[in-house]
């Protein structure tokens, strides 16, 4: 999946990936996609929940070798 920006959260635990995502998304334009790379399994549940409450969209998730990539599309202003 193609992303406009990559956010490296490998080695960080909850809540840091979510907090860093919210900071990063603020800097981006509506319609752009952010790729969040993390190795904390919690992100698989956390990111969709975060997207749902903030009005953004979780457009995809990939997992390989213990690294989880989550794609977040900015919809909310």
């Amino acid at each position: 999946m193609k992303a406009d920006k990559i956010l490296d959260c490998v080695g960080l635990y909850c809540p840091m990936p979510v907090i860093k995502t919210s900071q990063e998304i603020k800097k981006m334009k509506t319609g752009e996609t952010l790729e969040v790379v993390a190795d904390d399994k919690g992100i698989k549940q956390d990111m969709p929940a975060w997207c749902k409450t903030t009005g953004n969209e979780c457009v995809g998730m990939e997992e390989e070798n213990g690294e989880i990539k989550v794609y977040v599309k900015k919809l909310a202003v």
């Binding site: 809540p15 840091m16 907090i19 900071q23 975060w50 909310a76």
Partner: protein, 160 residues
Amino acid sequence: MAEKEKMTLVIFSGELDKALAAFILATTAASMGMDVTMFFTFWGLNIIKRDKGSIKGQGFMRKILNIMNRGGSSRLKMSQFNMLGLGTWMMKKMMKQKNMPSIDEFIEMAKQMDIKMIPCSTSCGILGLPDDAFRDGIMSQAGAAFFLGQAKESKVTLFI
């Protein structure tokens, strides 16, 4: 989103582990677009006291109490497994290894996220703590009615 949803936390406990839970939830809620208020009372006040600076408290008993109960984010102990400080020292080291922010860093993060941190006026009165006993960025003291007013409007309320 029209009006922001609110979350209100009462932080009664002054231990490292409980403070960590409180700040994790508060900062996450703020990142989810919620308006967060943290109301610190009793032992919880230790979390937001200044690490350095003179001992506050008027009168002999309050001075003694505030010397014994110095507070400050770097002096917090674990609620269990403290083992005369060894457990706390280990936990801090383990947190650092895993890139977890310290309580001090969490407080600074909370300030940047516009989380309101408010000391309880009654506890401050009894324990003899003036506004300047607390670190910068902590709001002025408020009472139970203020908390309940906030809590009534909040979707999430927690007592830690």
